[in-house]
Amino acid sequence: MLPRGVISAARAAQIGCKRSGFKLSSVFANTCVSSQTLGNNKQIRWHGDGPGPDAPTVQLTFVNPDDSETKISARVGETLLQSAHRTGVEMEGACEGVCACSTCHVILEQDMYDDLLDKMEDEALSEDEEDMLDMAFGLEQTSRLGCQITVTEGMDGAVISLPKATRNFYVDGHKPTPH
């Protein structure tokens, strides 16, 4: 049983291969092999905190709330939250990546969102993630939690948006009025 949101290398390969024009690199193929060698679907971990510096990387672009862009090298196998924290992208992770808050909310491109969804059980997000997204600010159709997305080679070049800063931060639509 995979930890929630952790995509197995095999799955990741499917996602990657499905993308048009994507070529499975030899490095990534190795990742698949080593995953199989381990005899289970567990995400490979190096130092307990995501893949090490030797992991293959993909280029991701984060669009910050102020519309500026931050280009980073994300390590295959780490979560988007780990990528962001490792590279200084301003993304919170209040619950430390256990899907118990909505502070790592990201908005994906439609293709990436669909590809990830296709590979999930029941082709749906986990109940926990959906529940947390209900509390996210600036929710979009392609919203996800960064802690629930594992970086794959297929994501090279992806653009990931952080929710726009809003001055209306009442999660329940509450408007302050005198009582």
């Binding site: 619950c95 808050c101 529940d131 209900d134 001055r167 931060f169 009442y170």
Partner: protein, 576 residues
Amino acid sequence: MLKQCLLRPQTVAFVMNQTPIRSSCHLARLGSTRRSLWRTFSSTNNNDDVNNDNKPRLSVAVVGAGPAGFYASKYLTSSVLKRITQSTSSGDDDDDTHSTPFGFSGIDIDLIERLPTPYGLVRYGVAPDHPEVKNVENDFAALFNKQGESQNSSINFYGNVDVGKQIPLSKLQSLYDVVILAYGCQAADKRLNIPGEDTLEGVLSAREFVAWYNGHPEFQHIGPIVERCLWKKKSNTTNDDDITETSISPARVVVIGQGNVALDVARVLAKGKPGLIDTDTPTSVLNVLKGGVSHVSVVGRRGHVQGAFTIKELRELTKLDKEGHNVSFVVRKEELEMGMTDASMEELKGPGGRPKSRIDKLLQDNAVEEDAQSTDAEKSVEIRFLLNPTQLAPHESNLSKVGHVLCERTRLEGDPGKQRPVGTGEMEELPADLVLVSIGYRGMPLEGMEELDFFDSSSSTVVNEHGKLPGENNLFVTGWIKRGPTGIIGTNIMDAKDTVKSVMNYLETSVPVAGVESQGRDGLNDHLGAHDVKVVDWNQFLRIVSAEIDTTRLRSEAQPREKILAVSEMLNAAQR
């Protein structure tokens, strides 16, 4: 006198006399011609670079070390450091903001907290069976653990310091460049304003109850009240000896209000000791809750579409039985139907309707007919809608204690988003041995603030615009005391960014005036020393933590900590 201090005029001349660099900073903001003047000035110090050594460091006092205070500290530190980097990077004329000088060379934040321990409602509000939510403490602690990574920033913790009582707000304003109020809404409750609310024993606010079960040192007197309500002898035939530590209380508890706090208290009451044994719920609390309470009703005036709870907390209730807590979840089909007015349907469809629709579906999936057979669970949590409590009535055998909650059936009237509960005249009486009022926390002014125009007593928040208090002063506000007691921990992120933006704007457009005294941290230390305040600093707080996780205190390996329940004992631990 106080008012004079708070509304201190910003005297540029004075600041120029004190710190010439600051005044040049002010000039720089006036426009590009002045900016070249600034460059000339600064170049006399150290080539073309801005000489940061001669600039003052920004001194900031943050009042309240809960999520609001921590997020404000975090974002203000990063904004100031970023701004310093921009101002010192050699002139990139393509980007004007990068070459604008900044008046400060660093930032020193003093995080002041009334209790000896930080984290506010993360420690004393978040339910003990939500340890993953408390993970955010590590993020907050990182602010202190990372001390020294940049010489340009520092943060100190001043625990056990009561602003208003031990140091006047006006004094803080005088000592610091910027004062950020983040002290929340922990001091009072919204009121039902119905008979019996203040007179009957066994009527508590959820705020008090939550603080008690989380081990808040100021709310441990709540325990004996809860114990009397849950375990009073029903008759002479019941013997105290029959009550074991896993006995289920036959008591009925009515929780009034339908936010997440209401669902938290219902869940904690239902779970009891068996369900909370591996959490940091104090042992003394578990000994009162014992095997949990047999009947908890969570009552709201409006329908399920208007509830303030979020789906995670609701779903937890529905899963209690499946997860072995011996608690069934009850929601009545007819009450869901009654709440489905045309306007409610619109609310489900409208913007922001997604969370409500998912809640609606969850409740519909769990709804039962009134006469339906319930599960074998010995305990139940029932969520009731469209019932407006009109009176808390005394117990038949003890007129000083609560015995019933009288409710009037309501129906919804009004446009989508504005539906109000209107009484139908039909009454229902809910038996209640304990009533927990969970209709919202209420902010209070700090001591010394009442006489100012800064506190809006109608909304119980501090008057502000994007976190900046009106008028010429160095006061800012963030968190619940800014926006009112709503939202989740994460809401404070947006809120803090909003306030920090205002602080940065203030630093750019006003001449920051660090008051007549302006010694910042040194001045605070002097004042607290002179008044014999027993300050708990960060390292001392860590000693309290060590004491709380000492294995000799713990029930089991799984228990994260056994909180210290008295301030005096905390202070002892801090000194060890």
